[in-house]
Every structure is written in structure tokens, then in C-alpha cells.
């Protein structure tokens, strides 16, 4: 059972739909009791960095999540903004991130105004390591991205996948211990995303 | 299954309605096919000559016209191959597709690839989706096996309508008795009256866009429009594996892994509805045909036939969703009463009365020979 955290940030229906499609049990929850019993957590997120952190605090989730992730070592996958808030800080806001993976969320800045922001659409990922989350991904895997900020982890060992947009290379997936994050939306990435979520379900 | 008798030639067995065996232990279906092969000269010089004559008449009829024939297409092997051959024979075909709105991507992709590659125009008749679903649902509620019959009949009607619309006299259809066999008739009956009757009794939506073929229209197509129904694969040497190989190589066409599985409604009939409600496994048509044609051995066919059918659980969900059936309603349908076309109004008796007329019409290619063979005689055990 995967618990999809509903903290008012973004599109949970499509994540739930994809889990259902691949026959993985999941539930959407904002109930702190329920979350404190979670076996596996999915942290979605669309919107702004500070708003997300605030909502987590307001809902009393910060302590529970710290306990689940850092002490109980429950596997967690952050998607899009849900990955960005795993880092230490963001150029988008002033609040401190969850700081589970040390890194910085930065703003895309391009001199050439033909390179549009957000980075929106299908892009490829490069991988140099084997990891349960990215296990057996097809050679031609592509994923759907939509974001104006990107993550750079401080320690290279925490970088799992890399993607380039407009000449900037960023970490499109990150990992440390039981904590994973993807910048792209696996739930919107056809069979490629399905494979990745299947992998997460098996961890 | 102690008394199960299996045909010595194919894999049809005594569970098939209307089957009987001769002194050699060979079934009447095999005998029927042998008879047709002789009559049509299938795959022989005679067949070829017969067909070449037809070809030249078709070509003559289309002189100075944009099209000289219409070819029904579904994206499946036979119809795709026929389109390919039509072009090779120098015909000017218009491809015609009846869209029952239950197509799979592989069907539409195949139609795209074949028509684009061969530069053939396509005419499509699309039924209103709500109406299609209502008609499909009425067949489930009626408890009869012919769930997909509305598609088969509409397909024929659309072919005839389109031929009339474009002033074409020749209708080519990719049926092959050799490759597909003649299907056992007692769970595969359809005519306009039958469909109308079931829909009248169980349908909710007004029938407006469904191309229903009434007896009157059937007569009109034959007698007024003089439309000839040609099945080229009855004459020429044909096998599905050979056809697939050519199609894949020449057009990028893709195989979908089984007879009729390119459409979700047909797929539902063959992999779920027939086996689960009626205990019918239609794989024996194709397998028997392959055995008769020497594509696979009888042992191989029996081996495949004895393997369970693997339905796609998603397809069940799809059917429930499209037809707005709750889990309970769906279960009730699958476990409910089984009926046959005899429980409803049909043209069957009328077809039988007109037997001699249809025999003549079949000889003149105005109706398919299989129509005459299957529909104009009382079924075994009937008066």
C-alpha cells in the first residue's frame, strides 16, 4: 500500500490512476494518523516551494514525515515540487526545505529568450548507476517535465538521473538511502513512467 | 467429455451445434469446404482463370471512374491483404471502414499504414457512440451470443451504401473459407430483423445512425443496384501467415495476435463473452482452418486449443465502463439465461422460402455464397 500525501499541492488523481492501472494499491490521505502508519509514501507537488513547505507544517506533517523517513526509513518518492522540497533550499522561496538530501533548487535563467521557461515537454534522462527505482528502464525512455526551477544536489552520489535543458544540466532524479525524487511526472509519462512507478512499488 | 468425437481432419468436435461426421470420421464443415474448393477452384489454375475473368469485368465497369470497387477494411489480416492485392491486380479500390467506435490503436494504425502506403482513399462510416453502446448492451441483456453481430451486419450495409454512393458495382470482401473456415452457424446468426427486434426489446436509445439492413434494402441492393459481392480469397491461393509476411514487409502492418482481436468488441466476444457465458471457444474456427490448409498440424492445433484462453482483465473493465454496467449487472449477464436467435424475430424463415432465388443470386455473385449456404437452409433438427 502506497500512501499519496494530500497536502493541497497538486494533481493527485493522475498518480492514483496510474497506480490503479498497474495494479498497485494506493490511497490518497491527509490524515496524520493514517500517514503515520504508511508503509510507503508518495509526495506529489505542484505550485511554489514556500507554499508547499508551509502546507506541510500547517498540516502537522513535518514531524510525522521526519519520523517516517529518517527514523523508520520508509521508502518515499517525491515528484516534481515534491522532489524539490526534499532539498535544503530553493531560490524560489525563503523557507528551509525538508533538507533530507542536501542540494539546492535553482531558477532556470537563459540569456536567449527563445529558450522558454518552464521547461515543458518530453525529455530524456541519462543514468550512470543502477538503482531499484530506475531498474530496467527502456533505453528510449522519455519523461514529461514541467518546471521552472531545477535541482542540483551537493553530493554527486545523490544524483540518480540527469537531464539537460537549454544547456543547463540538472538532476532529474535524486536518491539518498530510502529517499527518492523525480523532477518529471512519471504518472504522465506513458509506459516509461509506469515502469518507474512499478519499480517504486517493488522497493 | 467421454463421448467427445473429434473430426479426423480438423479439430471440430461433437460439441459444435449442427456437426455430423461421415463414415471416415470427417465432419460436415470439412466436407463443405472441400465442396467449395472444387466449386471455386481455390488456389488452382481454374480458380485463377475464373477470378481473372471477374477482374477484367470489374476493370471494365470502372472505366473512366475514380473507383471500380469498394473493399471492406478492418485493419485485420484478410482485409488488409485484399487491399494490397487489389492494388496489385490493377484495380482502383476505395477502402471502406465501418467504425463501431470500439477500435484498438492497432486496427486504426494498420488501416493508416496500408492505405497510406498503397495510396488508397478511405471512406469511414462512424456510428454514434451512444447508439453503438446501446445496441451492444441490448445484445448482452438479451442473453444471445451474437454480441458483435450488429457490427457484422452494419459492415455489409456500409459496404453496399458506399458502393451505391460512389456508383460502384463491385464489393470485395476479405473473407477466406480456407483460412477462416465456415463458422458454426448456431451462435453466429445475424440479420436486420434480429438486430432490430433485440434492440426494440432491450435498447433505450433511438436507432438513428446505425446502418440497419432490412430485407427490403437487401433486395434493393441486389435487384436495383445489382451489386456484386466478390470474395477474391475464395479463388486464389491464400494463407494468413503468407499474407502477414507480405503486409509486414510491404506496409509496416502489425499483427495483433489473434482472429478479430483488432476490435475491442470482437475481442470481448472471443476472449470473454463466448467462453465464459456460453462455453464456446471460437479458436477452433481458425485452428481448424489452419489444419485443413496444412499451416499447422492437427496435434499442434489441439495443443493450442487445449490451452486456456487468457482474457485481458482491462477489457472487462472497458466493457463495463462503456456500457455503464455495474459489477453486479455484469455478473448477472454472464450467469444469466442463455438465449438464441430462435427466441427472437428474424428473417430466417423468409430466407429459407427464398432459397432458390438466393441460390441463383449467389451464383450471380449478388449475394455471398456463404449466405446461401448458411442462411437459406433449416438448421439440423429444424423443420
Amino acid at each position: 500500500m502506497i500512501t499519496i500525501i494530500d497536502y493541497g499541492m497538486g494533481n493527485l488523481g493522475s498518480i492514483y490512476n496510474m497506480f490503479k492501472h498497474i495494479n498497485v494499491e494506493s490511497k490518497i490521505s491527509k490524515d496524520t494518523d493514517e500517514i503515520s502508519k504508511a508503509e510507503k509514501i508518495l509526495l506529489p507537488g505542484v505550485g511554489s516551494f514556500d507554499a508547499a513547505i508551509e502546507r506541510i507544517r500547517e498540516n502537522g506533517l513535518k514531524e510525522i514525515l521526519d519520523q517516517k523517513v529518517l527514523v523508520e526509513k520508509v521508502p518515499i518518492l517525491g515528484i516534481c515540487l515534491g522532489m524539490q522540497i526534499l532539498t535544503s533550499e530553493s531560490e524560489e522561496g525563503n523557507l528551509e526545505g525538508l533538507n533530507w538530501i542536501s542540494g539546492r533548487t535553482k531558477k532556470f535563467v537563459f540569456a536567449d529568450n527563445h529558450i522558454k521557461i518552464p521547461h515543458m515537454g518530453w525529455n530524456i534522462v541519462r543514468s550512470s548507476k543502477t538503482n531499484p527505482l530506475t531498474y530496467n528502464l527502456a533505453e528510449d525512455s522519455r519523461f514529461y517535465f514541467v518546471h521552472s526551477y531545477y535541482v542540483k544536489v551537493y553530493e554527486e552520489k545523490n544524483s540518480l538521473l540527469k537531464t539537460t535543458y537549454g544547456g543547463i544540466e540538472f538532476d532529474s532524479a535524486i536518491q539518498k538511502d530510502n529517499i527518492w525524487g523525480t523532477q518529471f511526472h512519471p504518472e504522465k509519462s506513458h509506459k516509461f513512467g509506469m515502469k518507474l512507478l512499478e519499480n517504486f512499488a517493488k522497493i | 467429455m467421454q463421448n467427445l468425437v473429434v473430426c479426423k481432419n480438423c479439430i471440430y468436435d461433437s460439441r459444435i451445434p449442427g456437426i455430423y461426421f461421415d463414415h471416415r470420421g470427417i465432419c460436415n464443415f470439412c466436407a463443405q469446404i472441400d465442396k467449395l474448393e472444387i466449386e471455386y477452384g481455390t488456389g488452382t489454375k481454374t480458380g485463377e482463370e475464373k477470378f481473372n475473368q471477374i477482374l477484367s469485368v470489374i476493370k471494365l465497369s470502372g472505366n473512366k471512374k475514380k473507383y471500380d470497387c469498394v473493399v471492406g477494411v478492418s485493419g485485420g489480416t484478410d482485409s488488409s491483404f485484399l487491399l494490397y492485392k487489389a492494388k496489385e491486380w490493377g484495380l482502383k479500390p476505395l477502402a471502406v471502414h465501418y467504425d463501431n467506435t470500439w477500435n484498438s490503436a492497432i486496427a486504426t494504425e494498420n488501416i493508416r499504414k496500408v492505405t497510406t502506403k498503397l495510396n488508397i482513399d478511405l471512406f469511414t462510416y462512424v456510428i454514434d457512440n451512444k447508439e453503438a453502446d446501446d445496441i451492444f448492451k441490448s445484445f448482452l441483456l438479451a442473453g444471445v451470443p451474437e454480441f458483435d453481430a450488429p457490427t457484422d451486419l452494419a459492415f455489409t450495409q456500409v459496404l453496399r451504401m458506399t458502393a451505391a454512393k460512389f456508383g460502384v458495382k463491385y464489393i470485395l470482401e476479405g473473407h477466406s473459407f480456407r483460412a477462416e473456415g465456415i463458422s458454426p452457424q448456431q451462435n453466429n446468426y445475424f440479420d436486420g430483423k434480429y438486430i432490430k427486434d433485440i434492440h426494440n426489446k432491450y435498447g433505450k436509445v433511438l436507432m438513428k445512425t446505425y446502418p440497419l439492413m432490412t430485407f427490403y434494402q437487401f433486395m434493393k441492393w441486389i435487384l436495383v443496384y445489382n451489386q456484386k459481392f466478390i470474395r477474391p480469397l475464395w479463388y486464389i491461393d491464400y494463407s494468413k501467415p503468407m499474407a502477414r509476411e507480405i503486409l509486414i514487409k510491404e506496409t509496416g502492418w502489425q499483427y495483433y495476435g489473434g482472429h478479430h482481436l483488432e476490435n475491442r468488441a470482437a475481442s470481448f466476444v472471443h476472449t470473454i463473452y463466448h467462453p465464459q457465458k456460453f462455453g464456446i471457444d471460437n479458436r477452433n474456427w481458425g485452428l481448424s482452418a489452419e489444419v485443413r490448409a496444412g499451416v499447422i498440424s492437427r496435434d499442434e492445433a489441439l495443443q493450442i486449443y487445449n490451452m486456456p484462453i487468457t482474457p485481458d482483465p482491462e477489457l472487462v473493465e472497458y466493457v463495463k465502463k462503456r456500457l455503464s454496467l455495474s459489477d453486479k449487472e455484469y455478473e448477472e449477464i454472464l450467469n444469466g439465461e442463455k438465449r438464441t436467435f430462435r427466441d427472437f424475430k428474424t428473417y430466417k424463415k423468409r430466407f429459407e422460402r427464398f432459397r432458390l432465388f438466393f441460390k441463383l443470386m449467389a451464383k450471380m455473385n449478388l449475394v455471398p455464397m456463404s449466405f446461401y449456404v448458411k442462411y437459406c437452409f433449416p438448421l439440423p433438427g429444424e423443420k
Binding site: Y144 | T101, N103, I106, T108, L122, F123, T124, N129
Partner: protein, 257 residues
């Protein structure tokens, strides 16, 4: 490398899929859910659904159909048509769409765009502009499925929409819609040069070359396809399809050169 997005743009009238020619003459295409399944199997980049008559017929979006669509689709989805209040927009997002397309109501009440963008982010809002050229070659903005001519000037309106918070623009040429004659390069280029958000060109695609042309000369970022993905070819039968991927890639390579 970021792929150029080629987006089937499908027109709904309530539960039916249709296709128009120059915003008139609705041709029936088929069942939306089954069509979506086909596009899903074809792994298209993204899908856009527009209920073209919802506003005019004063209908709410058909949430049942949209839920059915979202349950089938594992790709980005956008919806437009009859979106006039925040609660409905919220529902559209909650069932699994990630973008809403707003046209008529933005003309009536521009702050609506702002409200949606502030709450769901700019990336969630596609501003939609229907343009038509008059006899003098001037472009006008139309609303309500092309039935109402507005006083707005397309380029100024595009800038205004960006300012209000739209993250993308869908530019539809009413003259070219359903003609298979190619995109209106001029208006797409003018708008693309005036704003910094991505532009989706819509209306008129008839061949893979047209797609290449509007990307290169119109300098747009994405392309919407209507007739091309629902018909076999011009004047021919309904056939749900997507342009050959290899041919598309060749066309993209030409642009890169």
C-alpha cells in the same frame, strides 16, 4: 533534448467527438474514450480537449466524460470549454487534468486567469485565442466558439494574458481550421515574438511539412493537430491516427539544420 510537442487537439460537443471546418459544420468523429485509448496506445505527447459548444450552449463541462478520459490517459492533458468558475476548474484538476484552456471567459473577466494561475501555477493555464483575418488583412480576436467578435487586438491580448499569468498560449486560426492548407504563419510568428511563454499553433495542419513550417517560420514551440489526426486525408474517412514518428523526426532534423 526536449522534444517538440505535437498535440492532438480534439473537439468535443458534450459526449461526442467532432471536427469542424472553419469553426462551422461539425462532423461526427466518434467516441471520446475509445479515441483516447487509441492515442494512449500510440503514446502521443499530450492531448487537448475542447468542448467547443459548452460556453455557447451554457453547459458545464461533462465531468463524467472527462473523468473517463483522465482514467485512461497517462500523458499530459488539457481541457477547455465552459470554464467559468473556480470550483469547476478545481474539479478538472482533481480528476487528473493538469492544464485548463480558457478562452471566452478570459475575454469577459480577465482576472479569472489570474486567479487560476495564482492558485495552480502558470503552467496550469493555457490562454486560448481564436483569431480571424478580415478582408483588409487585420486580425481580430473572437470568443464563444467564433460567434462573437471582440474589440481585442491579438498581440496586445496575448501580452495581457501573459501578464495575467497564462503559462502557454493556444493560437487558433479560424480561417485555417479544418482546411488542411497549413498554419497561419504570420499571426503565430507575431505573437511568438511578442511574448516569452510557449506558443501552440493550431488550425490548418494538413501535412508533416506544415508542422515543420510553423515551427521554423512561425517560431512556435508546439503544434496542435485536428483534422490530421482524425481523418485519413483531406475529404476522406474518419481514422484516428498520428503522423508517422520517423517522418516527424526527419522534419525536426530539417529544422535543426
Amino acid at each position: 533534448m526536449l522534444r517538440t510537442r505535437i498535440i492532438p487537439c480534439l473537439q468535443l460537443i458534450d459526449q461526442s467527438l467532432v471536427k469542424t471546418v472553419q469553426f462551422k459544420k461539425h462532423n461526427y468523429i466518434g467516441d471520446p474514450i475509445n479515441t483516447v485509448r487509441i492515442f494512449n496506445e500510440l503514446e502521443v505527447d499530450e492531448l487537448c480537449f475542447l468542448d467547443i459548444r459548452a460556453t455557447v450552449e451554457k453547459r458545464e463541462p461533462n465531468l463524467k466524460i472527462l473523468t473517463g478520459i483522465a482514467n485512461e490517459c497517462f500523458m499530459p492533458l488539457s481541457y477547455g470549454g465552459g470554464l467559468r468558475d473556480f470550483e469547476t476548474v478545481k474539479k478538472i484538476f482533481s480528476i487528473g487534468f493538469e492544464k485548463v484552456v480558457i478562452n471566452s471567459f478570459a475575454v469577459e473577466k480577465p482576472e479569472f486567469i489570474k486567479k487560476v494561475a495564482e492558485h495552480f501555477g502558470n503552467q496550469a493555464v493555457i490562454g486560448s485565442i481564436d483569431v480571424k483575418k478580415n478582408i483588409l488583412g487585420r486580425y481580430n480576436v473572437y470568443s464563444k466558439d467564433g460567434t462573437e467578435k471582440t474589440k481585442l487586438e491579438p498581440i496586445e491580448w496575448a501580452k495581457k494574458l501573459e501578464e495575467l499569468g497564462a503559462g502557454e498560449l493556444l493560437i487558433t486560426s479560424m480561417d485555417n481550421d479544418g482546411t488542411w492548407e497549413g498554419f497561419d504563419i504570420e499571426i503565430n510568428k507575431k505573437i511568438a515574438n511578442a511574448v516569452s511563454m510557449p506558443i501552440i499553433a493550431n488550425g490548418g495542419a494538413g501535412s508533416i511539412e506544415h508542422i515543420g513550417e510553423v515551427l521554423l517560420k512561425g517560431t512556435v514551440n508546439a503544434v496542435a493537430l485536428g483534422s490530421m489526426v482524425v481523418y485519413q486525408k483531406k475529404g476522406m474517412g474518419v481514422l484516428i491516427n498520428f503522423p508517422d514518428k520517423e517522418q516527424l523526426n526527419n522534419e525536426f532534423l530539417k529544422i535543426k539544420k
